[in-house]
Each structure stands twice: as structure tokens, then as C-alpha cells.
């Protein structure tokens, strides 16, 4: 069992700078938890505290049932994969893989068997007698992965492991890591993963759950789907999803939504989901849910400023009350609209429309019932 619990975890640096503000997070055994956030949000610091590489200044960390606050990294049943691999440069791949077991004092035969086993799983058998400097980025990454795997730890910690790879390799490594996680789980091995990244695509595609962090606080912990369909606040809304969610300032009163000079009635489907009625709001609508309309029903007027042809769809850029918005449409719809000039009418899907309280940034819409 390797459940990981962070209870009121705090990190204050020597100069008085508070990096982590008493966060609470409960990671289930076997769960793939992704910590995501912009740089400087303390996601790496948090991971390093779990690893024991960074001192904890407040709160506690439990791995399994044990409080590990003062345990050295080697005694925490963890393995870590670093961003720049951190392979030992003077050791061949074989020794790099076996080093942890050697330090643990395991017999040589057992170490050799474990090395062969891991090398087979990761397909790095031909690389075993090379030095790290003779490896490509992808190969080095696989060796680093192997070094973690060989220890059969309770918890795997990944610190932006794919950010030094090119886009194509990153995509294939992503799949490899998730498959590996699934395989470990099927074999009944402990396979809790804490994965730090700043890349929301990695977070969305890999995580069982995602923990979005900003400036040392946890903003939301949810499954990728929940995070996407129901972001808890403005920050999460803008951070998750590509292209980014359109966020438009407006106000709401007397059953009308006003954006600049325009006003449209609050759709019934949205009204039913509202949990509060502040006046100043921010409307959040994903580009996929902003439809081009040609009928006479209420919609928002906008001026088309450009379009990106993506193949199967077109990203239309438009100015709405002086603010850039993006709408995703089909090529056919785009052509029809562009023939009629640069004046377009956009209607948000009321089921997918989010309303945020401008003052607090909180999402004040309930999730729509999924059909």
C-alpha cells in the first residue's frame, strides 16, 4: 500500500518566502496524480518534499501509513525520475540501473536479474554497456525510467520528465509511461505516481486525477474530464484546455447578460445552474462551445479578425466588445460566414457556459447534467 497524504504541508524558505501554503492532498494507492501549474507554482517543491530532497517546514507527509517527514529519501520507498535524467555520468547504463539495489546491499545475482528484467520491459537491452553520454535524449529518459522501476518503489515521482524531449518523442513517451503504469497495476505491484508537469496536455492525457496549483496553493483536484467541463475558478479555466477558454467580462441582472453594449437574455439552461447572482461576472466559454449562428435567435455580435485552418476545423478569431475570442467551427461553416463579410454572430452553448464571480474568480455554475 502506498497511499500518499499531504496534510497542511508548508514550505517556508530561509528568507521568509512562503512557497507552499499548507496544502492538503490525498493520493490513493495506484493512482496517477498529476501536479500541474505554471512555473513558480511550487509543484516541483511539493514533489521534492515528498521525495525528501527538500525540508518540510510545516505539516506532514504520509507514505503508506508512515509519517516520513524526517526520513531520508532512500528510506521512503520512492523512486524519482528527474527532468534532465540525472544519470550517473561515469557509470554504464547497467551500473546506473543497478546502483540503487547495490546501495541497498542486494546480492549480485538478484541485481543482475532485475537489470535484465527492466531492460527487457523498456527495450534498452542493447544500451546496457553504454555510458550516459552515448545515449540520445529518449534513450536516456528510458534508462532514467528503468532506474526508478528497478527499485519496485511504493511511489514513483516524476519531475517534468518529458520536457527535454522533442514533441514527437514526448508523445510516444507519454503513452509508454501510462502503459507502464497500467501494467504495474495489473501485476498487482504498487504503482502510485506523482507526476509534475507544466504541460496541460500531459496532465490531461496521463493523469487519473489532476491537481492544479498556483503560487503554493491547490486550486482544484479533479479528474481530467471534470477539470475540463467544470473548472472551479478562472485560473483553472484558462489553464486547462487548448485553445484556451474565452473569458469575457460582463454583468448579469434582471435576467439579462450584458457584454459592453450588447445584451442577451440568460438562457434557461444556464439560469438553472447558477448558484449565486453577483452582478459583475466573467463568462467562460470554450472555443468548441461557441457556435457561429446565422438564424435570428439571440446571439453575440462580433467582428471576425482572422482564421486558422487546422484541417478538420477552423479556429475563428474575432473581436467581441474589443476582446479577442476564438471559436472553433467546421470549414464549411467558416466559408459560409466569411462570404457574408466580417460581421458574425456567435452563440455560446448554454449547457457548457461557465459564469465566474468576477470578485472572487469562483465558478458559480453547477456542472450541467451530462447527456
Amino acid at each position: 500500500m502506498a497511499r500518499v497524504q499531504l496534510n497542511n504541508l508548508e514550505k517556508v524558505y530561509g528568507g521568509g518566502f512562503k512557497a507552499v501554503h499548507g496544502i492538503n492532498l490525498d493520493i490513493e494507492d495506484g493512482e496517477f496524480m498529476v501536479l500541474v501549474g505554471p512555473s513558480g507554482c511550487a509543484k516541483s517543491t511539493t514533489l521534492r518534499m515528498v521525495a525528501g530532497l527538500e525540508e518540510i517546514t510545516g505539516g506532514e507527509i504520509r507514505i503508506g501509513e508512515q509519517v516520513v517527514n524526517t526520513l531520508p529519501p532512500g528510506k521512503r520507498s520512492i523512486a524519482m525520475v528527474f527532468q534532465n535524467y540525472a544519470l550517473y555520468p561515469h557509470m554504464k547504463v547497467r551500473k546506473n540501473l543497478g546502483f540503487g539495489l547495490k546501495i541497498a546491499g542486494r546480492p549480485k545475482a538478484e541485481i543482475d536479474a532485475a537489470i535484465d528484467d527492466v531492460a527487457r520491459i523498456l527495450e534498452i537491452e542493447p544500451l546496457l554497456d553504454r555510458l550516459p553520454k552515448q545515449l540520445s535524449g529518449g534513450q536516456a529518459q528510458r534508462v532514467a525510467l528503468g532506474r526508478a522501476l528497478i527499485k519496485k518503489p511504493g511511489v514513483f515521482l516524476f519531475d517534468e520528465p518529458l520536457s527535454n524531449l522533442d514533441a514527437k518523442l514526448r508523445a510516444s513517451m507519454r503513452v509508454r509511461i501510462t502503459e507502464l503504469h497500467k501494467r504495474l497495476k495489473e501485476r498487482g505491484l504498487s504503482s502510485t505516481v506523482i507526476y509534475v508537469t507544466h504541460d496541460q496536455t500531459e496532465a490531461m492525457t496521463m493523469g487519473d486525477r489532476i491537481c492544479v496549483m498556483q503560487a503554493g496553493h491547490i486550486l482544484q483536484v479533479a479528474t481530467p474530464r471534470d477539470l475540463y467541463t467544470h473548472p472551479a475558478n478562472l485560473f483553472v479555466a484558462s489553464f486547462i484546455g487548448s485553445p484556451e477558454m474565452n473569458l469575457i467580462d460582463g454583468s448579469m441582472s434582471d435576467g439579462m447578460i450584458r457584454i459592453g453594449q450588447q445584451s442577451v437574455p440568460v438562457p434557461a439552461a444556464l439560469d438553472a445552474r447558477l448558484t449565486a447572482q453577483p452582478e459583475a461576472v466573467v463568462l467562460g466559454i470554450r472555443p468548441q462551445h461557441l457556435r457561429l449562428v446565422t438564424d435570428g435567435a439571440p446571439a453575440l455580435e462580433a467582428k471576425m479578425t482572422g482564421a486558422e485552418f487546422m484541417g478538420h476545423e477552423v479556429n475563428i478569431h474575432a473581436l467581441l466588445d474589443g476582446k479577442q475570442v476564438v471559436a472553433v467551427t467546421s470549414p464549411a461553416e467558416y466559408e459560409a460566414a466569411s462570404r457574408a463579410g466580417d460581421r458574425i454572430r456567435l452563440r455560446p452553448d448554454p449547457e457548457a457556459l461557465h459564469v465566474f464571480d468576477k470578485a472572487s474568480g469562483r465558478n458559480i455554475t453547477r456542472p450541467a447534467v451530462m447527456h
Partner: protein, 294 residues
């Protein structure tokens, strides 16, 4: 069209010729300057095979009648000991000093570069201060200290301070080198279960190897060349290292046998030269990577 091709060929040929000329010039100048710098050394080697009278009669460095007489007589020395004894003495000082320096400076530098401890800044500041302190200033207090310890006329004052990381320069050099190595590998080692000492031995020292080789080389050469230290602390001839022994052959004979002195000088610089050429690659890697340009 053919004219153009012809012109192009002509230009290419001219360019190649110019390049050859400038390369030739460069080598001539470099060779000349190199020769000027090396000439004393070449002369030294040449003169060590001359007879004492020929040294002063001909300015060239190729001996007219090469003889090993200088080496034979020089080796015997005017003392009851052969020069081999003095080499052995040098070795007895250099060995513990170099090994001790490598170990102690690594430990101290590792501490400064990777750990936080109280008064670290003040302590490191004092290391730098020692670096800037002229050696002469501490000679007398050191002498008195070692006299009180009863270490006079022994090798101890010559190597013990260095083996206790007393050479601030080496500590500083290793700290700088360590700072240029990312700490990730050490963190990986800690995750792999190493304690600080294991991390140092298995991970840091191998990465530090080029710098450590430079440290050992510097220490070797400086100790080999050190004259003042042995002069101050050693009084019995049987404990003299080669640097003092060379001087010995100057003032004990009335008419200086220059060929003996030169022959022994050649022998004295030989170990340093051999060691330097063997370890040259690491040496250059070590000092340039550490940011201390030699």
C-alpha cells in the same frame, strides 16, 4: 564562360596560396617564440652532458664530447648520501601531502558547496582570506607552533597542514568546480539510498576526478619545487629533499662543479615533467572546467 571558370580557378589557387603563406608565417613565429622560451631548458639538458670546463667555453647546447660524468659524480654528492636518498625524502613528503590534500580538500569543498550549516559564509570568507594572505606572514607563528609540537627536523610540518585542507587554493578550486556540477546526480543518489558520504564517494568523487587530478598535480609540482619549507624545518642532511640537496652541492664545494648541479637539476625536473605529460589531458580539463585558468 571558360574565362569565368578560369578566373575562378585562379582565385581559388591564389586563396590557397595565401592561406599556405599565412600558416607558414604563423608556424615560424610560434616556433621562434617557443624556442626562446624553451632554450634555457634545452641548454640545461645539453650542458648536463658537458664537462665542467666546456660549459663555460662554448655557448651552444650540443656537447662536443658528451659525458655522463656530471650525472655519476652528482649522484654521489659530497655528502655520505647519494641523490637517491634525497629523492626518497622528497617522495616521503609528497606522497602523504598529495593524498592528504586530495582527501581533505574534497571533504571540505563538498561541505562548502553542498551543505548549509551555521557560519558557512564567515567560514568560507575566511578560506578566501587565507587565499589572499601572503605566506610570509604566517611563517614565524607556524614555526613557533611546530617547534612547540616538537615537529622540527621532521617531515610533519611539511605535509600535515596540507593534509588537513590547509591549502585554501585547492579548497576554493574544488568548490568552484563542484558548483559547476548540477546537484541532480547527487539527489538521484540520495533517492537511490545513499547517505552523504556514499554520495561523495560513489558520485561526487568520480565527477570531480579531473579537478582532483589537477589538485594532485599542482601539489606534486609545488612540493617538489618547495625550497623555503624544507629549508626552515629540516636541519639534518639525511632528511633533505631534492630541492635542498641541489643547493647543498653549490655551497659545500669551493669550485662549483656546474655540470653536477645541472645534471641533478635535470633529474629533479624529470618526475614533474613526466607526471605532467601523462596527466596533461585531465589537468587542462580540470582547471578550465573549474574556472581557474592556470
Amino acid at each position: 564562360m571558360t574565362d569565368l571558370t578560369h578566373l575562378n580557378a585562379l582565385q581559388t589557387r591564389r586563396r590557397v596560396r595565401n592561406q599556405k603563406i599565412s600558416a607558414g608565417m604563423r608556424y615560424v613565429i610560434l616556433f621562434a617564440v617557443g624556442l626562446v622560451m624553451l632554450y634555457p631548458l634545452i641548454w640545461l639538458v645539453g650542458a648536463s652532458f658537458k664537462t665542467n670546463s666546456e660549459i663555460f667555453s662554448s655557448p651552444g647546447f650540443i656537447p662536443a664530447e658528451p659525458t655522463l660524468e656530471g650525472y655519476r659524480q652528482g649522484w654521489e654528492t659530497s655528502t655520505p648520501f647519494t641523490f637517491g636518498r634525497f629523492f626518497w625524502n622528497s617522495f616521503l613528503i609528497i606522497l602523504p601531502k598529495t593524498i592528504g590534500t586530495a582527501i581533505s580538500c574534497t571533504l571540505v569543498a563538498y561541505g562548502f558547496a553542498r551543505f548549509d550549516f551555521p557560519f558557512k559564509k564567515i567560514l568560507f570568507g575566511s578560506v578566501i582570506a587565507i587565499l589572499l594572505l601572503p605566506n610570509v606572514v604566517t611563517r614565524i607563528p607556524q614555526y613557533i607552533l611546530f617547534r612547540d609540537l616538537g615537529w622540527l627536523d621532521s617531515f610533519l610540518p611539511l605535509w600535515v597542514p596540507s593534509a588537513m585542507a590547509g591549502d585554501a587554493f585547492f579548497v576554493f578550486m574544488l568548490v568552484q568546480f563542484l558548483r559547476s556540477i548540477p546537484p541532480d546526480m547527487e539527489e538521484a543518489a540520495r533517492v537511490d539510498g545513499c547517505n552523504s558520504l556514499q554520495t561523495l564517494i560513489y558520485i561526487v568523487v568520480p565527477m570531480l576526478a579531473p579537478a582532483l587530478i589537477s589538485v594532485c598535480l599542482f601539489q606534486f609540482m609545488w612540493t617538489m619545487n618547495d625550497f623555503l619549507g624544507p629549508l626552515i624545518y629540516l636541519s639534518s642532511v639525511d632528511k633533505y629533499p631534492v630541492s635542498l640537496a641541489l643547493k647543498l652541492s653549490i655551497d659545500t664545494t669551493e669550485a662549483f662543479e656546474w655540470n653536477r648541479i645541472l645534471a641533478m637539476s635535470v633529474l629533479t625536473i624529470t618526475p614533474a615533467l613526466i607526471v605532467f605529460f601523462v596527466a596533461q589531458r585531465y589537468f587542462i580539463e580540470g582547471i578550465s572546467a573549474g574556472g581557474v585558468k592556470g
